[in-house]
């Protein structure tokens, strides 16, 4: 009892005086604004999430219900997911997509870092020209060069029907990654570099020991973007991997899923969920890096 009174006495006393008319209007206005904003927010949230919900619900419908206008499944056919997993090639698509995205990202990072560093910190004649060329490459739709590239990979190197034509070029730098990383590296103050030089570090060691640790957010960002790009790539696999079902990726396989496997919407939606889910899961675990990465592109650009 005594303790409670003591605590009461310690807390600052809030005098609740009756509100003035001005304050009341202000508070009402604030409340209305709160309601308006949050209603809009809820409406927007519905717009963004309902498609996921409907897709998920449809994925659990039975064959006969999939074509009806019902929104809720009558029977919850979890076996649809089993059926999709057992579809020949589904796991192969997974494997291929992981290899393409993983290997591609690793190669991109390794090859883009030195180029970005040179463009950010070295002075040389032709730097602006190089930068403009990098930017031009960024703007280039892949369809512009696909014909000669396809003929090159397919006829010269016999690599059509594989994903190598998509992975190998990433070992030579990716324009977008180079540009992004360059913008980021430019924000690293030169004092650090000068200090390293004074300590006797050559350019390579400066890069590795001093710059890289500070560039982690930038590198994480380009790695995420590249992984994303490869995971979502449809055109590339369509050109190079379509002849060989053993090389298909998730995006290409999903698109051919509906017709090829004589399925209706329920199984197709189940497959869609299985393609969506991993990306969403990765996001939940790497939220901070994702958002930082996207911010980096916009704000620094």
């Amino acid at each position: 009892m005594a303790q409670d009174t003591a605590q009461l006495l310690e807390r600052p006393v809030e005098l609740k005086l009756p509100a003035t008319p001005a304050e009341r209007t202000a508070r009402r206005k604030a409340l209305l604004e709160w309601i308006a904003v949050h209603s809009l927010g809820v409406a927007a949230a519905l717009f963004f999430t309902l498609p996921f919900v409907f897709v998920f619900l449809t994925s659990l419908m039975s064959d006969s219900q999939a074509l009806s206008r019902d929104l809720i499944p009558h029977t919850w056919e979890w076996s649809n997911y089993r059926k999709v997993f057992d579809t020949p090639g589904f796991l192969t698509w997974w494997k291929n997509t992981l290899i393409y995205a993983g290997l591609g990202t690793a190669l991109t990072v390794v090859s883009s870092v030195p180029v970005a560093y040179a463009l950010a910190k070295f002075r040389f004649r032709g730097r602006n020209l190089t930068l403009m060329l990098v930017i031009s490459m960024m703007m280039l739709p892949p369809q512009v060069v696909v014909i000669p590239m396809y003929l090159f990979w397919a006829k010269q190197l016999d690599l059509s029907g594989t994903l190598w034509p998509l992975i190998i070029p990433l070992a030579f730098g990716d324009a977008f990654s180079i540009f992004l990383l360059r913008q980021f590296l430019m924000t690293i103050p030169n004092e650090y570099l000068d200090a390293a030089k004074v300590d006797g570090c050559g350019d390579l060691r400066t890069l590795l020991r001093v710059v890289l640790p500070m560039a982690k957010p930038g590198i994480a960002a380009i790695a995420l973007f590249q992984f994303f790009n490869a995971w979502n790539d449809y055109f590339g696999p369509q050109i190079y991997a379509s002849e060989n079902p053993g090389a298909w990726t998730l995006s290409y396989g999903l698109e051919s899923f509906k017709g090829a496997h004589h399925t209706d919407w329920n199984l197709t939606m189940a497959a869609t969920v299985l393609v969506l889910a991993p990306v969403l899961l990765v996001f939940f675990f790497a939220q901070k890096a994702f958002v930082e990465g996207v911010t980096l592109t916009g704000v620094k650009g």
């Binding site: 949050h38 927010g41 927007a44 717009f47 963004f48 999430t49 498609p51 996921f52 409907f54 897709v55 074509l67 929104l71 090859s111 883009s112 030195p114 180029v115 950010a120 910190k121 070295f122 602006n128 190089t130 403009m132 031009s136 960024m138 703007m139 739709p141 892949p142 369809q143 512009v144 696909v146 014909i147 000669p148 003929l151 090159f152 030579f172 180079i178 350019d203 994303f228 979502n232 449809y234 055109f235 050109i239 995006s251 999903l254 698109e255 919407w265 197709t268 939606m269 393609v275 969506l276 990306v279 969403l280 996001f283 939220q287 996207v294 911010t295 592109t297 916009g298 704000v299 650009g301």
Partner: protein
């Protein structure tokens, strides 16, 4: 004296070598994957090549064919214009709107932000198929709801006047990336400027126009530019939407129909695929590729002029 100039030259050479060494991956990449194919594409655009017999010179035949006789070329160009003007604008505006909304939401900001951002992560093929299902005029949930309320339900991906708006809806659904950068930009606007404006008696609209807009205009520019690049490269979504909506499955004697319905979802990149990988007219495909290149470079040039700051001079 000779010694110093000698060391200086040596130093210069070393620094040049160093530059070359660091740039080497990109130099090789540029030559093999950009310069060589570009020259090749120009070369092939004047040749008749079907992949089997050796190429033969055909002069301007392919060019005349694409510009005058290929029935899909001009619809695709018109569609690209539509996408650039309407889809990009709407996406930027919607992104800005959602960004502003999220800065005003005080309760549960994190949850809202996550939910708004999620659709952006969906792989394009998955997202397009989801929307093709949702907007199916016969059995999709959207039309069932609309009809229950009594609003006439459009044909979405099956109706040529609604297919691009449907694609725009899909693009708006995935506006998460723009939302995030606008949100960051909006939060970066110095508070003092808002306070000063309020003191001056500015209305909310005036505050937006004279404080917010100038501060975030670089981001708006960035959003527009990346949006236009995306519009030029728009390939997967219209292709998948058209294929799924038409219900026509390749094979069994059915002929492929680009841009279902009625060329409304045709884009230039799809033409390169149609000419090159379905008709196997590599020459004409290269012509379209060059048109695509020219348009993209025109926008790049525009960007360079308006935002020279993109190439920050740096140190």
């Amino acid at each position: 004296m000779a010694a110093t100039t000698h060391t200086l030259r040596a130093k210069h050479r070393r620094s040049r070598l160093r530059t070359l060494a660091f740039l080497s991956p990109w130099l090789i990449g540029f030559t093999v994957f950009f310069a060589y194919p570009m020259i090749s594409t120009v070369y092939f655009s004047f040749m008749h090549y079907d992949g089997f017999k050796p190429p033969t010179w055909s002069g301007t035949k392919n060019w005349t064919y694409v510009f005058e006789s290929y029935p899909f070329f001009w619809p695709a160009l018109r569609n690209t214009l539509w996408l650039v003007v309407i889809m990009v604008t709407l996406r930027v505006l919607f992104g800005l709107g959602i960004g502003m909304l999220i800065t005003k939401i005080k309760t549960g900001t994190g949850i809202f932000r996550t939910l708004f951002y999620l659709p952006y992560l969906a792989p394009p093929v998955a997202a397009t198929m989801a929307f093709a299902f949702l907007l199916n005029p016969g059995t999709g949930p959207v039309n069932s709801l609309l009809e229950k309320i009594g609003i006439p339900a459009p044909g979405w991906f099956n109706d040529p006047s609604w297919s691009k708006p449907a694609l725009t809806m899909l693009a708006l659904w995935g506006v998460g990336d723009l939302m995030v950068i606008f949100m960051a930009a909006l939060l970066d606007v110095p508070r003092e400027q808002y306070e000063a404006a309020e003191l001056d008696g500015a209305t909310p609209w005036q505050r937006f126009r004279y404080v917010t807009l100038p501060n975030i205009s670089p981001i708006i520019m960035f959003a527009v530019v990346t949006g236009v690049i995306g519009a030029m490269q728009y390939y997967t979504q219209p292709l998948v939407a058209g294929k799924v909506a038409s219900g026509v499955i390749q094979g069994a004697g059915t002929a492929f129909e680009p841009g279902y319905p009625e060329h409304s979802t045709l884009t230039l990149p799809q033409l390169v695929y149609n000419l090159g990988f379905q008709r196997f007219d590599y020459g004409s495909a290269c012509v379209v590729a060059l048109v695509l290149f020219a348009l993209s470079m025109a926008f790049t040039a525009l960007l360079m002029r308006r935002r020279g700051g993109l190439i920050q001079a740096g140190d």
